[in-house]
Amino acid sequence: MTSDYAIIGGGIVGLSTAWGLLKRGLRVTVLDGDDGSFRASRGNFGLVWVQSKGMNQPRYAQWSQASAAAWADFAAELGDATGHDLGLEQRGGYDLHFSEQSLEATVAKYEILKQKLGGNYPYEVLGHNALRLEEPAIGPRVVGAILHHQDGHANPLRLLRALADDVRRLGGVILNGKRVTRVDKADLFRISCDDGTEVEAGKTVLSAGLGAAALGPMMGFKAPIRPQRGQVMITEKLPKLINRPSLIARQVDEGGIQIGATNEEVGLDDTVTQPGLSGLAAEAIAAFPVLAKAQLVRSWGALRILSPDGLPIYQQSPDMPGAYLVTCHSGVTLAAAHARFLPDWLEGADAAPDLEVFSEARFNVS
C-alpha cells in the first residue's frame, strides 16, 4: 500500500501528527507496536503544561504555550468526532513549594523568562492562606504556590483512544503489532517490519518514542534520546478534593488522585519500586494531608523520552529527505501543536512554524 505519509509510532505524538495530516486530506499509514511495547502514551501524567518549561529556551515555552492555547479547540473537535470527552481543564495549575527560598528562586527564574516572552507569562504567587482558599485540602507545610494560568490537564488515555478512533475514521490506516526493522528510500520510502509487512510512502515520520534511538541512526538522525523513568501512582476514586493540578498531584476526571512523578536515570527499566512509591506518597501527603487515608490502587513506571537538553527534536533527515524525526517528552501538552501546526512544517507550507531551534544541529559537538 502507498501513502503520502508513513508514521512510525502509534503513540500520542504519532497519532496527533497523523490526525493533523489526515485533516489536510493526506493519506496516512501508522505503524504501531504491540501490547507490551514501552508506551509513554499509556504512562504519562496528563498535564497540559506550560510553567517551568523552556527556562533556558524561550522558544520551547512559546511552543508549549501555542499548543496549550490550541488545545481547547483541538479537544472539542476530536471530542465531537468521537464522542470521547477528553477531560480537558485549563483553569491554571500550581507549582507547590515547601520553602520560601525555593518559591522565591523559582519566581526569579519565571521573571527572566517572562521578559524574554514579552510579558506573556501569566502567573501569580499565592501564599499559604491564598492557596488555602483555592485548595482547602492543602497542608500546613506548603508555604505557597505559583499559579500559572496557562496550565491545565486532560485525560491522556482518552486522548489516545480518541486519536486511535478518529485517525481510522478519517481514513488513516493503523497497523498494530508491528516492529519496524528497516527504512529504505528510493522514489518512495519503504518501511519494512519483522513480520514481512512493507509500507510505501512519499514521506515518513519517526515518532517511535524510545524506538527512535535504534531506528533514527539508520535514517540519518542523531536521535540522541534516552529513557528516564517516572513512577506514578493513583488512588481510589474520591470525592472532589483537588481543584487544580500541580506537578505533585492532580485529581483525574474519573475521581482518582494521580501522584507523580519520579525522575530516575535507570535505563530501560520501568519497574515500580517501594522507595519510589514511598517518596511520592510522602510528598503528596505533605501537600494534601487527607491523602494519608486514601487507598493506592495502581502504580506504574513509564519511561520519558528525553533529549540531552530535554527539549523536543524536530529534524528532517539530511540523508533521507522526506524523513522527519519528531520526538518529545510532552506528547500530551504538545498534542494540539502536533495536530494543528506540525503538518505545515512537514508539508513545507508557508505557514510552517519555525522549529529551527529544535533541530539536531544543537547536538553538534564543537
Binding site: 488515555l157 517501594q274 522507595p275 494519608a292 493506592l296
Partner: protein, 465 residues
C-alpha cells in the same frame, strides 16, 4: 525488617505444608497470610469452625486441622492479617499488617496464593445477592451463616459440595442450575482411566449427588442463556434448558464454574505464564519442584495450576524439600528420597483432574458474554466495549485497559483479566498466549498512602523529583 530463609505467602494447604516441611529441615520460615487464622480458603478458620460445624462441613474440611496444628514450630513465624502488596528484587516482600507497612527479606520466596473463582460474567452478576459459590461456603465455614432461598448456578463439584453442606445446615438451596451437558460427560469418559485411579473423588461426587437427590434438590442440567434478574438486588435467575425457558425466584444466586490460579503475585514479578487449554486459564511456568524463571521464587499449590487441596499440600512439601536442598539443608539424595512418596501421592490426586475438567467445563455463555454484560466489575466495563477495542487495534489487554479502563479498579483485574484475554483472543483471532494478560504492578492489594509514606521516613530518598 523481618528476615527469614524462606518467606511463604499464603497459609492455605500448600503454604502451611511447605512452611512446616521447610521448618523441619532447619530453615527459618516467615509465613505471611491475609486471614486472621490459618487454613486458606479451603480450610478457612478450620481451628474454630471444626468444633461447632464439623458435621456440616464434612471430614475433608476437618482434615485441614492436621495442617494448622503442625504450624506450631519454633522455626515458623506466622504473621496473621499480613496483606502483601509488593515483591521486590525477588527477595523482599512489602506488606501491611494492622495498618502498618512492614518489610521482610527472604533468601527464598514461596508463592502459595491459591486459586480464585473463575470469573463468571452473566447478565446481572454484579447485583447484590449474587456471590460466588465459594463465598457462600466461606460464610458457612467461617461464620456459620447460610443463605436462604439460594440457587446455585454453573458447573463443577464445588456446587455439589456447597449444596450438600447447605442441606446439612438445614438451609437447602432452591435448585442447582448446571451448565455442563451430557455431551461433556460423554467426552469426559475417555479420561476415566485416570479417574479410576482417583476413584475416591468420583465416589464422593456420587455420594453428594445421592444426598442432594434424597433431599429433593432440583437439578437443571445443560442450562444456557443464564441471567440474574433484579433491580436493586437479585430476585431471580432465568435460563433455558432444551429450548424451554425457566425462571426461579430467589434471593441469592451463587455462581461457580471452576477455579483458576491466582497469579497476581507471580505476574507482578514477571514470572512467565502459559495458557492451559484444558483448564482455560493461565498458569505460571514452573518445574516439578515449583521453581520459576526467577531463581529465588517458587510456586506451590493451586497457584501453580489447579489440583485441589490435597495436591496442594503435597506440592508444598515437595517445593519445601527443593528449597531446603537449594539452601544447603539437605542433599539431592535426601531430597529425592523424601520426595518419592509425595510424588506418588500427587499422581493419585491429579488422576481425577482431567476427568473433572472435561466433565465440568466452564459455562460457554460466560466465556463469550453478550455485548451488554459487565465484564470488569470495578470499572463497569462491558464485553462489547472490550470487543470494540479490538477494532481500535488493541491486540492485548494492556492496550485495551488503557482504552476502556478494564482492570484499573481495586481488584487489579482479578475478576476480569481472563475474560478480557479471552474476548480479545476470540475477536482478534489470536491465541490467548499471544494475546497475553494484564501487566500486574504493585500494589497487589490497595494500601493507604499513609502506610506507604511511613516507610519513606526510614530511608534517604534515592528518588529525585
Amino acid at each position: 525488617m523481618h528476615s527469614a530463609d524462606l518467606i511463604v505467602i499464603g497459609a492455605g494447604p500448600a503454604g502451611m505444608s511447605a512452611a512446616r516441611r521447610a521448618a523441619g529441615s532447619g530453615l527459618s520460615v516467615l509465613l505471611l497470610d491475609e486471614q486472621p487464622a490459618p487454613g486458606g480458603q479451603i480450610y478457612r478458620d478450620v481451628d474454630r469452625a471444626s468444633k461447632t460445624r464439623g458435621a456440616i462441613l464434612g471430614s475433608d474440611f476437618i482434615d485441614g486441622l492436621a495442617l494448622t496444628r503442625r504450624l506450631a514450630h519454633d522455626n515458623i513465624t506466622h504473621l496473621r492479617g499480613a496483606v502483601v502488596w509488593q515483591i521486590e528484587e525477588a527477595t523482599r516482600v512489602n506488606f501491611t499488617r494492622n495498618g502498618k507497612a512492614e518489610l521482610a527479606e527472604g533468601r527464598r520466596i514461596l508463592l502459595a496464593t491459591g486459586a480464585l473463582e473463575r470469573p463468571m460474567p452473566v447478565p446481572g452478576w454484579t447485583l447484590p445477592g449474587v456471590m460466588t459459590a465459594g463465598a457462600a461456603q466461606i460464610l458457612l465455614k467461617q461464620s456459620g451463616i447460610a443463605c436462604e432461598r439460594a440457587v446455585l448456578v454453573g458447573s463443577g463439584p464445588l456446587l455439589y459440595l456447597v449444596a450438600t453442606q447447605m442441606v446439612r445446615a438445614g438451609v437447602p438451596p432452591l435448585a442447582l442450575v448446571e451448565t455442563q451437558t451430557k455431551a461433556d460427560l460423554a467426552r469426559s469418559l475417555r479420561h476415566l482411566g485416570g479417574a479410576l485411579r482417583g476413584w475416591p473423588y468420583l465416589l464422593k461426587g456420587l455420594r453428594m449427588l445421592w444426598e442432594l437427590r434424597r433431599a429433593g434438590i432440583v437439578r437443571h442440567v445443560g442450562a444456557t442463556d443464564i441471567a440474574v434478574e433484579g433491580d436493586r438486588s437479585a430476585s431471580g435467575v432465568t435460563f433455558r434448558v432444551g429450548g424451554i425457558e425457566h425462571r426461579i425466584a430467589c434471593d441469592t444466586v451463587l455462581l461457580h464454574h471452576g477455579v483458576v490460579p491466582n497469579t497476581q503475585a507471580a505476574r507482578s514479578i514477571d514470572i512467565p505464564h502459559r495458557w492451559d487449554d484444558a483448564q482455560g486459564c493461565f498458569a505460571p511456568e514452573c518445574d516439578e519442584w515449583g521453581r520459576t524463571a526467577v531463581s529465588s521464587v517458587f510456586i506451590a499449590g493451586d497457584g501453580a495450576g489447579i489440583g485441589g487441596a490435597r495436591a496442594a499440600a503435597l506440592a508444598g512439601e515437595l517445593v519445601a524439600l527443593e528449597i531446603a536442598r537449594d539452601l544447603g539443608g539437605m542433599t539431592e539424595r535426601e531430597r529425592d528420597a523424601e520426595a518419592r512418596p509425595l510424588r506418588s501421592g500427587l499422581g493419585a490426586e491429579r488422576a481425577a483432574r482431567s476427568f473433572i475438567d472435561s466433565a465440568y467445563p466452564p459455562y460457554a455463555g460466560a466465556l463469550a458474554p453478550a455485548d451488554d454484560t459487565i465484564v470488569c466489575r470495578c470499572e463497569e466495563v462491558t464485553a462489547g466495549e472490550i470487543r470494540r477495542t479490538a477494532g481500535l487495534g488493541c491486540l492485548g489487554p494492556n492496550q485495551a485497559k488503557a482504552f476502556v479502563r478494564a482492570g484499573m479498579g481495586p481488584c487489579q483485574g482479578r475478576y476480569c483479566g481472563l475474560s478480557v484475554t479471552r474476548i480479545l483472543s476470540d475477536t482478534n483471532g489470536i491465541p490467548p498466549d499471544e494475546t497475553g494478560y494484564y501487566r500486574i504492578r504493585p500494589p497487589l492489594k490497595p494500601v493507604t498512602l499513609g502506610e506507604i509514606a511511613a516507610l519513606a521516613e526510614h530511608e534517604t530518598a534515592e528518588v529525585g523529583k
